[in-house]
């Protein structure tokens, strides 16, 4: 039971650090999801635009960022990004190092990856909107922008919620890879605690449980949002076969 003391909050307990790390994971993932939402919307727009050049560009984005291991993308942005920023600084006469902070680099990397998944989610949601409803909007004289704002947006958001829940789950786990940037998120803190105390199982299980807590909280939020958004849908459409 001495080992359990290690999880407590006293001077020898890792509880406080683990909680902080959990919050850090939450913050990184939430930031990444927001970045990904913007990128995803733009890429989905490009893929749906019908302009062959934009479509190709969108396809390259989603293929590359879904097809290349996440760790590599994080490396590219963390190190590649720093070199880029530093050389820009040099060009502008600043001597010395200008780096992307770990948090920014990590959130950006996970956000770019998450953007490739969100693009597909948004695209799927758009395609699921009934064509008839769009025509009905045209038929009363709504112009493009109004149609987008009044009819398309609200429905895309509703239809995208389950998909976004999955993307959140993916990003949550991708955020574990940001530990290579030294950011004290949950995975790294579990590893550091394990390495410092040599209690590998204790801290990996504790870390796993904290991830599960995050999952169950976010599941609850997404389920609630889905229920709310689906109040306009028939109950029977959600029953199982």
């Amino acid at each position: 039971m001495a080992s359990l003391e290690l999880l407590g909050f006293g001077s020898t307990g890792w509880g406080a650090l683990l909680i902080l790390a959990t919050l850090m994971t939450l913050a990184v993932t939430a930031t990444a999801l927001a970045i990904g939402a913007v990128l995803g919307a733009i890429v989905a727009g490009a893929k749906l635009s019908g302009n062959p050049f934009l479509v190709a560009l969108g396809n390259v984005y989603t293929t590359v960022f879904r097809g290349v291991p996440e760790l590599l993308i994080i490396y590219l942005i963390y190190f590649g990004g720093s070199s880029a920023v530093t050389s820009i600084g040099k060009a502008m006469g600043y001597e010395g190092f200008l780096g992307l902070p770990s948090f920014a680099a990590g959130a950006l990397a996970v956000g770019i990856i998450s953007g490739s998944y969100q693009a597909e989610v948004f695209r799927g949601a758009f395609l699921a909107i009934s064509k008839g409803e769009l025509e009905a909007a045209s038929a009363i004289g709504m112009h493009r922008a109004m149609r987008f704002r009044r009819i398309i947006m609200p429905q895309v958001l509703r239809l995208a919620i389950p998909g976004l829940g999955n993307v959140w789950q993916l990003s949550l786990k991708d955020s574990a890879l940001i530990s290579v940037t030294g950011l004290a998120e949950l995975m790294r803190t579990s590893q550091v605690a394990a390495g410092s105390t040599r209690q590998y199982f204790l801290f990996f299980i504790a870390g796993g449980c904290l991830y599960l807590i995050l999952t169950s909280l976010s599941d609850r939020i997404f389920n609630g949002a889905e229920r709310r958004a689906n109040r306009s849908m028939p109950a029977s459409a959600m029953g199982q076969a």
Partner: protein, 234 residues
């Protein structure tokens, strides 16, 4: 760019591709089988079975694969019961453990994906089947499964690609696949970018092939949704 270095790196990494492919195909296969079991428990209507399935999905979807793999490989051996059981000769093998934990993890995801496919089957088509006297396995085999699989396919291709990338973690349990070899090369040469670039190209090509294959499968399974081959009669 140092092309001789890139070329020799590529050769080294390509030698690890078979390991990656074995990990990938075995875990997709066993994960898929397990997912079928779990999803049938999940939709069985039996509260105990469905509860077990829910718990399984929650745990394996909700925690990082890295932790799962660590616990399966290093954790199971801590128990004398397992170490002295008939299972140990299998569990001793790193490859078995790697495939086991990959399959356990993907089964959780895949079960959810299949369930989504099942939910998307129109209840009306099921009723039509019941109304001619179909039930049980016949109903599943002839109506439910084909329609559900078609619905689940896009999400399933994404999961397969994720799985290909997940095999990268197997070096944790001493199975040296492409990413592991790349990392080892990096700690020998410290040329991070070049080595990872080669690895990225390999994964990109593998995943591109997989996605094209899945798109082809999807296309051939969606004849009933495409525009009719012959012009519609007026």
């Amino acid at each position: 760019m140092d092309f001789t270095f890139l070329a020799s790196t590529m050769v080294t990494l390509l030698k690890a591709v078979p390991t990656t492919l074995i990990l990938f195909s075995l875990s997709i296969f066993f994960g898929g089988l397990l997912a079928l079991v779990i999803v049938s428990m999940r939709v069985s209507g039996n509260r105990v079975l469905s509860g077990i399935a829910k718990g399984y999905i929650f745990v394996f979807r909700g925690s990082p694969l890295l932790i799962q793999m660590f616990l399966v490989f290093y954790g199971l051996g801590q128990f004398g019961v397992i170490r002295y059981s008939f299972l140990w000769p299998f569990l001793r093998e790193p490859m078995v453990c790697a495939v086991l934990s990959l399959a356990l993890c993907t089964a959780g995801y895949t079960a959810e994906i299949f369930r989504g496919g099942i939910r998307a089957v129109s209840p009306k088509e099921i009723e039509a089947a019941r109304s001619i006297g179909m039930s049980g396995f016949l109903l599943v085999r002839r109506i439910l499964a084909p329609i559900a699989f078609r619905h689940a396919l896009p999400a399933y291709s994404t999961e397969i690609v994720l799985m290909m990338k997940s095999t990268a973690l197997a070096s944790l349990v001493t199975v040296w696949e492409v990413t592991g070899v790349a990392q080892r090369l990096i700690s020998q040469t410290y040329r991070t970018m070049e080595v990872f670039l080669c690895a990225a190209i390999i994964y990109l090509v593998l995943n591109f092939i997989i996605l094209q294959g899945m798109a082809l499968l999807e296309y051939s399974l969606s004849r009933h949704r495409r525009a009719a081959p012959q012009p519609l009669k007026a």
